[in-house]
Symmetry: C2
Protein backbone atom coordinates (compact mmCIF):
# COMPACT_ATOMS: atom_id res chain seq x y z
CA UNK A 1 0.00 0.00 0.00
CA UNK A 2 1.35 3.43 -0.95
CA UNK A 3 1.96 6.11 1.61
CA UNK A 4 -0.94 8.28 0.42
CA UNK A 5 -3.44 5.49 0.95
CA UNK A 6 -1.93 4.76 4.38
CA UNK A 7 -2.27 8.43 5.25
CA UNK A 8 -5.96 8.32 4.38
CA UNK A 9 -6.56 5.14 6.34
CA UNK A 10 -4.74 6.20 9.49
CA UNK A 11 -5.54 9.90 9.49
CA UNK A 12 -1.83 10.71 9.63
CA UNK A 13 -0.23 13.06 7.13
CA UNK A 14 2.12 11.33 4.66
CA UNK A 15 4.84 13.75 5.74
CA UNK A 16 4.29 12.71 9.32
CA UNK A 17 4.69 9.05 8.45
CA UNK A 18 8.00 9.72 6.68
CA UNK A 19 9.04 11.80 9.66
CA UNK A 20 8.29 8.94 12.06
CA UNK A 21 10.51 6.72 9.94
CA UNK A 22 13.24 9.33 9.90
CA UNK A 23 13.38 9.56 13.70
CA UNK A 24 13.30 5.77 13.97
CA UNK A 25 9.95 5.65 15.65
CA UNK A 26 9.07 3.26 12.85
CA UNK A 27 11.13 0.60 11.08
CA UNK A 28 12.01 1.68 7.54
CA UNK A 29 9.16 0.66 5.25
CA UNK A 30 9.65 -1.94 2.54
CA UNK A 31 10.16 -0.47 -0.90
CA UNK A 32 8.38 -1.37 -4.12
CA UNK A 33 10.35 -1.77 -7.38
CA UNK A 34 9.83 1.90 -8.23
CA UNK A 35 11.24 3.05 -4.88
CA UNK A 36 7.87 3.86 -3.35
CA UNK A 37 7.28 2.87 0.28
CA UNK A 38 5.07 -0.22 0.51
CA UNK A 39 3.12 -0.76 3.71
CA UNK A 40 1.73 -4.01 5.10
CA UNK A 41 -1.39 -4.50 7.21
CA UNK A 42 0.97 -4.88 10.19
CA UNK A 43 2.51 -1.47 9.46
CA UNK A 44 -0.96 0.01 9.28
CA UNK A 45 -1.74 -1.29 12.75
CA UNK A 46 1.42 0.20 14.16
CA UNK A 47 0.57 3.53 12.55
CA UNK A 48 -2.96 3.43 13.93
CA UNK A 49 -1.55 2.67 17.37
CA UNK A 50 0.69 5.71 17.10
CA UNK A 51 -2.11 7.90 15.84
CA UNK A 52 -4.26 7.03 18.84
CA UNK A 53 -1.44 7.38 21.32
CA UNK A 54 -0.48 10.82 19.96
CA UNK A 55 -4.13 11.74 20.00
CA UNK A 56 -4.34 10.67 23.64
CA UNK A 57 -1.64 13.23 24.38
CA UNK A 58 1.51 11.13 24.53
CA UNK A 59 4.60 12.78 23.07
CA UNK A 60 6.95 11.01 20.69
CA UNK A 61 9.23 9.65 23.43
CA UNK A 62 6.25 8.29 25.33
CA UNK A 63 4.89 6.77 22.14
CA UNK A 64 8.23 5.04 21.67
CA UNK A 65 7.95 3.55 25.16
CA UNK A 66 4.34 2.55 24.60
CA UNK A 67 5.26 0.93 21.32
CA UNK A 68 8.10 -0.97 23.00
CA UNK A 69 5.74 -2.20 25.71
CA UNK A 70 3.20 -3.03 23.04
CA UNK A 71 5.69 -5.28 21.28
CA UNK A 72 7.31 -6.67 24.44
CA UNK A 73 5.76 -10.04 25.23
CA UNK A 74 7.35 -10.03 28.71
CA UNK A 75 5.97 -6.62 29.70
CA UNK A 76 4.22 -6.06 33.03
CA UNK A 77 0.95 -4.22 32.77
CA UNK A 78 1.72 -2.11 35.85
CA UNK A 79 4.44 -0.38 33.84
CA UNK A 80 1.93 0.62 31.19
CA UNK A 81 -0.53 1.89 33.77
CA UNK A 82 2.17 3.90 35.54
CA UNK A 83 3.00 5.67 32.27
CA UNK A 84 -0.64 6.51 31.64
CA UNK A 85 -1.28 7.79 35.16
CA UNK A 86 1.85 9.93 35.09
CA UNK A 87 0.61 11.44 31.85
CA UNK A 88 -2.85 12.05 33.31
CA UNK A 89 -1.32 13.92 36.22
CA UNK A 90 0.71 16.05 33.86
CA UNK A 91 -2.41 16.94 31.91
CA UNK A 92 -4.25 17.80 35.14
CA UNK A 93 -1.47 20.24 36.03
CA UNK A 94 -1.69 21.85 32.62
CA UNK A 95 -5.44 22.27 33.04
CA UNK A 96 -4.94 23.96 36.40
CA UNK A 97 -2.43 26.40 34.96
CA UNK A 98 -4.68 27.25 32.05
CA UNK A 99 -7.61 27.83 34.41
CA UNK A 100 -5.53 30.32 36.36
CA UNK A 101 -4.59 32.04 33.12
CA UNK A 102 -8.21 32.11 32.02
CA UNK A 103 -9.37 33.74 35.26
CA UNK A 104 -6.54 36.22 34.93
CA UNK A 105 -7.60 37.16 31.39
CA UNK A 106 -11.27 37.58 32.31
CA UNK A 107 -10.27 39.72 35.23
CA UNK A 108 -8.11 41.84 32.95
CA UNK A 109 -10.97 42.21 30.49
CA UNK A 110 -13.43 43.18 33.19
CA UNK A 111 -11.28 46.16 34.11
CA UNK A 112 -11.56 47.74 30.67
CA UNK A 113 -14.20 50.28 29.63
CA UNK A 114 -13.99 49.10 26.00
CA UNK A 115 -14.69 52.46 24.40
CA UNK A 116 -12.97 54.77 21.95
CA UNK A 117 -10.83 56.39 24.61
CA UNK A 118 -7.19 55.40 25.05
CA UNK A 119 -7.50 54.83 28.80
CA UNK A 120 -7.28 51.14 29.45
CA UNK A 121 -6.94 49.43 32.79
CA UNK A 122 -5.65 46.29 31.08
CA UNK A 123 -2.51 48.05 29.95
CA UNK A 124 -2.15 49.66 33.35
CA UNK A 125 -2.42 46.28 34.99
CA UNK A 126 0.28 44.87 32.72
CA UNK A 127 2.49 47.90 33.37
CA UNK A 128 2.44 47.93 37.13
CA UNK A 129 3.06 45.70 40.05
CA UNK A 130 -0.28 44.72 41.56
CA UNK A 131 -1.54 42.29 44.15
CA UNK A 132 -4.07 40.59 41.97
CA UNK A 133 -6.18 37.69 43.13
CA UNK A 134 -3.83 35.43 41.23
CA UNK A 135 -0.77 36.83 42.88
CA UNK A 136 -2.34 36.22 46.27
CA UNK A 137 -3.30 32.72 45.34
CA UNK A 138 0.26 31.98 44.25
CA UNK A 139 1.89 33.64 47.25
Amino acid sequence: MNIGQVAKETGLNAKTIRYYEQIHLLQPAKRAANGYRDYSEQDLETLRFLQRARNAGFNIEECRQLLNLHQDKTRQSQHVKALVLEKAEHVATQIKELKIMHRHLLQLASLCQADEEPNCAILEELSEQHDTQEDKRHA
Copy 2:
Protein backbone atom coordinates in the same frame (compact mmCIF):
# COMPACT_ATOMS: atom_id res chain seq x y z
CA MET B 1 22.22 48.66 34.06
CA ASN B 2 23.81 45.46 32.69
CA ILE B 3 21.76 42.67 31.21
CA GLY B 4 22.41 40.31 34.12
CA GLN B 5 20.98 42.75 36.63
CA VAL B 6 17.99 43.39 34.37
CA ALA B 7 17.43 39.65 34.14
CA LYS B 8 17.34 39.43 37.92
CA GLU B 9 14.97 42.37 38.27
CA THR B 10 12.50 41.29 35.60
CA GLY B 11 12.66 37.53 36.07
CA LEU B 12 13.53 37.13 32.39
CA ASN B 13 16.57 35.15 31.28
CA ALA B 14 19.38 37.30 29.82
CA LYS B 15 19.28 35.09 26.72
CA THR B 16 15.58 35.81 26.40
CA ILE B 17 16.17 39.56 26.55
CA ARG B 18 18.75 39.37 23.77
CA TYR B 19 16.35 37.20 21.82
CA TYR B 20 13.57 39.79 22.15
CA GLU B 21 15.96 42.38 20.78
CA GLN B 22 16.93 40.08 17.92
CA ILE B 23 13.33 39.59 16.78
CA HIS B 24 12.70 43.34 17.11
CA LEU B 25 10.21 42.97 19.91
CA LEU B 26 12.48 45.46 21.69
CA GLN B 27 14.43 48.43 20.40
CA PRO B 28 18.17 47.72 20.39
CA ALA B 29 19.54 48.60 23.82
CA LYS B 30 21.99 51.45 24.26
CA ARG B 31 25.59 50.30 24.55
CA ALA B 32 28.13 51.27 27.19
CA ALA B 33 31.71 52.14 26.19
CA ASN B 34 32.76 48.50 26.59
CA GLY B 35 30.03 47.28 24.25
CA TYR B 36 27.80 45.95 27.02
CA ARG B 37 24.06 46.59 26.73
CA ASP B 38 22.97 49.37 29.06
CA TYR B 39 19.33 49.46 30.16
CA SER B 40 17.33 52.43 31.42
CA GLU B 41 14.46 52.41 33.90
CA GLN B 42 12.16 52.84 30.88
CA ASP B 43 13.61 49.68 29.31
CA LEU B 44 13.04 47.86 32.56
CA GLU B 45 9.38 48.81 32.51
CA THR B 46 8.96 47.56 28.96
CA LEU B 47 10.61 44.29 29.93
CA ARG B 48 8.37 43.91 32.96
CA PHE B 49 5.35 44.59 30.77
CA LEU B 50 6.49 41.83 28.43
CA GLN B 51 7.19 39.44 31.27
CA ARG B 52 3.66 39.88 32.64
CA ALA B 53 2.05 39.67 29.22
CA ARG B 54 3.92 36.45 28.37
CA ASN B 55 3.04 35.13 31.79
CA ALA B 56 -0.62 35.95 31.12
CA GLY B 57 -0.41 33.63 28.13
CA PHE B 58 0.05 36.04 25.23
CA ASN B 59 2.42 34.84 22.53
CA ILE B 60 5.14 37.00 21.03
CA GLU B 61 2.97 38.38 18.23
CA GLU B 62 0.24 39.29 20.68
CA CYS B 63 2.81 40.89 22.96
CA ARG B 64 3.95 42.97 20.03
CA GLN B 65 0.38 44.19 19.49
CA LEU B 66 -0.10 44.84 23.18
CA LEU B 67 3.14 46.77 23.31
CA ASN B 68 2.10 48.83 20.30
CA LEU B 69 -1.24 49.62 21.93
CA HIS B 70 0.60 50.37 25.14
CA GLN B 71 2.71 52.96 23.41
CA ASP B 72 -0.02 54.31 21.14
CA LYS B 73 -1.52 57.41 22.69
CA THR B 74 -4.41 57.35 20.22
CA ARG B 75 -5.42 53.76 20.97
CA GLN B 76 -9.00 52.77 21.69
CA SER B 77 -9.45 50.66 24.77
CA GLN B 78 -12.02 48.44 23.02
CA HIS B 79 -9.22 47.13 20.81
CA VAL B 80 -7.24 46.08 23.84
CA LYS B 81 -10.24 44.37 25.39
CA ALA B 82 -11.03 42.53 22.15
CA LEU B 83 -7.51 41.10 22.11
CA VAL B 84 -7.81 39.91 25.70
CA LEU B 85 -11.22 38.34 25.24
CA GLU B 86 -10.10 36.55 22.10
CA LYS B 87 -7.20 35.13 24.04
CA ALA B 88 -9.48 34.08 26.89
CA GLU B 89 -11.67 32.17 24.48
CA HIS B 90 -8.66 30.44 23.00
CA VAL B 91 -7.53 29.36 26.45
CA ALA B 92 -11.03 28.08 27.26
CA THR B 93 -10.89 25.89 24.16
CA GLN B 94 -7.53 24.52 25.17
CA ILE B 95 -8.89 23.67 28.62
CA LYS B 96 -11.82 21.80 27.07
CA GLU B 97 -9.51 19.75 24.88
CA LEU B 98 -7.23 18.89 27.77
CA LYS B 99 -10.21 17.82 29.89
CA ILE B 100 -11.26 15.41 27.17
CA MET B 101 -7.73 14.05 27.04
CA HIS B 102 -7.66 13.70 30.82
CA ARG B 103 -10.88 11.73 30.93
CA HIS B 104 -9.56 9.56 28.13
CA LEU B 105 -6.36 8.81 30.06
CA LEU B 106 -8.16 7.98 33.29
CA GLN B 107 -10.48 5.70 31.39
CA LEU B 108 -7.48 3.98 29.82
CA ALA B 109 -5.84 3.56 33.22
CA SER B 110 -8.99 2.14 34.80
CA LEU B 111 -8.97 -0.69 32.27
CA CYS B 112 -5.60 -1.99 33.39
CA GLN B 113 -5.02 -4.70 36.02
CA ALA B 114 -1.63 -3.21 36.88
CA ASP B 115 0.05 -6.48 37.76
CA GLU B 116 3.12 -8.42 36.63
CA GLU B 117 1.30 -10.02 33.74
CA PRO B 118 1.74 -8.77 30.19
CA ASN B 119 -2.01 -8.52 29.52
CA CYS B 120 -2.95 -4.88 29.38
CA ALA B 121 -6.24 -3.42 28.28
CA ILE B 122 -4.58 -0.05 27.69
CA LEU B 123 -2.48 -1.42 24.87
CA GLU B 124 -5.49 -3.25 23.49
CA GLU B 125 -7.48 -0.05 23.55
CA LEU B 126 -4.75 1.77 21.65
CA SER B 127 -4.51 -1.10 19.15
CA GLU B 128 -8.14 -1.41 18.20
CA GLN B 129 -10.97 0.63 16.88
CA HIS B 130 -13.39 1.38 19.69
CA ASP B 131 -16.43 3.54 20.18
CA THR B 132 -15.19 5.32 23.26
CA GLN B 133 -17.17 8.06 24.96
CA GLU B 134 -14.84 10.54 23.32
CA ASP B 135 -15.38 9.17 19.87
CA LYS B 136 -19.12 9.49 20.36
CA ARG B 137 -18.77 13.03 21.63
CA HIS B 138 -16.75 14.00 18.57
CA ALA B 139 -19.01 12.19 16.11
